[in-house]
């Protein structure tokens, strides 16, 4: 592959295996920029990137901001609380307004699944989905793939277990599609209430036992448990959840000595991960954050017509 042809990054299903490899390779090349004393290249000078966040986000948004600035793009932010959407403007009108100001890329997060798909149909600019409802979070999946590949040297043949609220998780959905596409074997584990119908049809093995999921895994990915899900009867209490599905260092070592730990953040310490496991040497959590910037730099760069070779040393 010598060129990247996607106009938008909406979900993992629309990326091919070759394209995923190409993105990760490009990110690996660009990662060095963040390690230099002057962390900036002029590559995207004159390009405008709108960060359109219709849902609260700290890490994803900051990661995109940093990625864009390291590539010298101009960035603009619109968030739900400051946009005219609180004045009752429809999403379509907001999008037409943004379009009229000719941005090159719109990075979008929205609470409604499919909102970036909807927006991409009415825009000339490229759209990067920074998380939509329970549907997809492709940049998170790409940075997870990059982190797994760095740690283990490959993805093909890896056993990945995702533990937690699969039902509400766009990260789980994107990772099931992304990791299985790259040849990994994905198991999801949670109480039955948190396993959505038909998740097996997306390629995941389903387990209701933490031990079964952990015992042979190369990577254990824990997901955030949101307390507010209690009100819709998904689980009885955080204590009960931690008792059956919380990962502790002791559990990790007794079940499986070699697995790495990942988490998309933010962590609920003491619920899905104990404090010592979040900070242990097997934890890749901070590497995920670092790679997040590299993956987003790569996507901005490739969507603007860049090729991997132009930036290799």
């Amino acid at each position: 592959m010598d060129h990247f042809h996607q106009k938008h990054i909406l979900d993992m299903s629309s990326l091919s295996k070759q394209e995923i490899d190409y993105i990760i390779n490009t990110a690996t090349t660009l990662k060095g920029i963040s390690e230099r004393p002057i962390k900036k290249v002029p590559t995207l000078r004159g390009k405008s990137i709108v960060h359109f966040f219709h849902e609260p986000s700290t890490r994803t948004r900051t990661s995109f901001e940093i990625a864009a600035k390291r590539m010298s793009a101009d960035t603009f932010s619109i968030s739900a609380s400051t946009s005219s959407m609180i004045k009752g403007e429809t999403l379509l009108d907001t999008v037409h307004t943004i379009q009229a100001m000719s941005p090159d890329i719109i990075v979008m997060r929205h609470s409604a699944s499919g909102a970036p798909h909807f927006v991409s149909k009415h825009l000339n600019a490229s759209v990067i989905n920074a998380g939509d409802g329970m549907h997809a979070h492709p940049t998170q999946c790409l940075l997870d793939l990059m982190t797994a590949r760095e740690a283990l040297g490959k993805i093909n043949g890896l056993k990945v277990s995702i533990i937690g609220d699969i039902f509400h998780s766009r990260v789980a959905r994107s990772n099931i599609i992304g990791f299985t596409k790259m040849g990994a074997e994905v198991t999801v584990a949670a109480p039955c209430t948190m396993i959505p119908q038909g998740i097996d049809k997306m390629g995941a093995r389903v387990s209701n036992s933490l031990k079964e999921a952990v015992i042979n895994a190369d990577i254990i990915m824990a997901l955030r448990i949101q307390k507010e899900r209690q009100s819709n009867f998904f689980f009885p209490s955080e204590r009960e959840y931690a008792a059956f599905f919380g990962m502790t260092y002791e559990r990790l070592k007794s079940m499986n000595k070699n697995a790495f730990i990942m988490h998309p953040g933010p962590i609920n310490r003491g619920v899905e991960l104990s404090s010592e496991i979040a900070d242990c040497k097997e934890s890749l959590i901070m590497k995920q954050v670092t790679n997040g910037v590299a993956i987003r730099m790569a996507l901005l760069y490739l969507l603007m017509g860049g090729t991997r070779d132009a930036h290799s040393n």
């Binding site: 429809t90 929205h110 409604a112 699944s113 499919g114 909807f118 549907h135 959505p196 038909g198």
Partner: protein
């Protein structure tokens, strides 16, 4: 006015008639239906007819009845009015419609019922038979004045999209309605279980959309069947979408309970895979289900478990549909595509043409107790004329409806409505 409709194949299930006949219409009524051999008995000569319509190769059936439509009038006239709705109905071969009560205000008063009937009557096309609310404002808190509403012309009761959750109220509504032998129509939905935006299953999981399980419908179908047994009231189950509801209705019918049921063309035509790409024109309530359910609905139509095909014609503007899927309004329009989609069941050899006409005209008229439509001397001239085989492409821009929310735009289908005659008047 003398009208002669000659050479058409007259299909009237009530008379087991499916042969070529010449129909003579004087003013509003049919005055003779004759074979070629009987032409010497014609009430007027071909030359003296004001209109001669050659229906050679075409089917003529009793006017179609759609017992589930939303005309948004009064209150949301930007989506549809009684005028545009009636025109859309006539375009689809439909001579009689039942308007659901979820207008603004809700049809819970005789004055609103009368307004709807009179408005349609003044237009001289498709007739409106309002279904009034079960509870004032459809708030689920009391009973409407059913007797007065029936006197005003209502022909049934439902809270439709705001289903009655209080089983005691539903029981009393059915008991009270039985005093008048009135029809209760139930939109079966357990509101808490149905907190989703599409069918629950592998498609909703993949798309990250909140799902609605089949049980959200069948639980209420079962409850209302139990109340039907308790009260003896006539119960009609609206827009059946699941295999489990079909089983429950079959059970009720085998028990001899006065239960009837309808489904809509989209439930026997589409599945939840139509939602892929977040197409809001595939969002409705109940949601499109799986292939298993679609099969069950088709078989239930063939076996007579489902008596009626009604459209649940639900007009919405771009304001409600050009939004993210989660936020889009439920419903699609259906009046101008229902016969065409119904004919697909005949082309698939699932139903005979006669059975289709029963489900789209004879059965709903009986359930609603509106005047019988017979293609026979002395009956009002309410006729639908269509071509079974004519290929055509559905084009939403040619619709009479004010709204365009259809998933069938661009579909090429076989069968087309050519003329709708209401009270002896050509409506197309």
């Amino acid at each position: 006015m003398h009208i002669l409709i000659e050479n058409g194949t007259v299909n009237d299930p009530q008379q087991s008639l499916n042969e070529i006949r010449h129909i003579y219409i004087k003013n509003n009524s049919i005055v003779a239906v004759l074979t070629l051999e009987e032409l010497s008995n014609a009430p007027f000569s071909r030359d003296s007819a004001d209109i001669v319509y050659d229906a050679r190769g075409q089917i003529i059936c009793p006017g179609l009845v759609d017992m589930h439509v939303h005309f948004r009038d009064p209150g949301q006239e930007y989506k549809e009015t009684i005028e545009t709705g009636c025109k859309a109905a006539a375009q689809g071969g439909i001579t009689d419609v039942c308007c659901m009560p979820n207008t603004k205000p809700v049809n819970d008063q005789p004055e609103i019922t009368k307004y709807m009937i009179e408005k349609a009557r003044s237009l001289g096309g498709t007739r409106v038979h309002p279904i009034a609310a079960i509870s004032p404002g459809s708030n689920g808190k009391g009973l409407t004045e059913m007797g007065l509403l029936l006197e005003a012309g209502a022909c049934g009761f439902t809270d439709d999209g705001q289903p009655v959750t209080d089983s005691q109220l539903m029981r009393r509504a059915m008991e009270y309605a039985r005093s008048f032998d009135a029809l209760i129509i139930s939109h079966c939905e357990d509101l808490r279980l149905a907190e989703g935006v599409m069918n629950e299953g592998s498609v909703s999981t993949r798309m990250g959309l909140a799902g609605i399980p089949n049980a959200a419908e069948s639980i209420m179908v079962s409850r209302d069947i139990a109340l039907c047994e308790l009260t003896g009231s006539r119960l009609h189950i609206a827009h059946v979408s699941t295999a489990q509801s079909v089983e429950a209705i079959k059970f009720a019918k085998e028990k001899g309970l006065p239960v009837t049921a309808e489904t809509a063309p989209h439930y026997f035509t589409l599945t939840d895979s139509a939602v892929v790409e977040y197409d809001t024109h595939a969002k409705m309530n109940p949601p499109l289900r799986t292939e298993i359910d679609r099969e069950a609905i088709r078989n239930a139509l063939a076996q007579g478990i489902i008596d009626v095909i009604a459209t649940d014609h639900a007009p919405h503007s771009d304001l409600e549909k050009m939004v993210p899927f989660d936020q889009a309004a439920n419903g699609i329009i259906g009046l101008e595509t229902s016969l065409t989609l119904g004919l697909k069941l005949v082309h698939d050899n699932l139903l005979t043409l006669t059975q289709l006409i029963e489900k789209m005209s004879v059965n709903p008229a009986k359930i609603l107790k509106i005047p019988e439509k017979r293609i026979a001397r002395g009956y009002p001239a309410d006729l639908t004329i269509f071509d079974m085989a004519m290929k055509h492409t559905i084009n939403k821009d040619l619709f009479q409806s004010k709204s365009r929310n259809t998933p069938f735009d661009g579909w090429t289908c076989q069968g087309k409505v050519l003329q709708t005659i209401i009270n002896g008047r050509f409506c197309l």
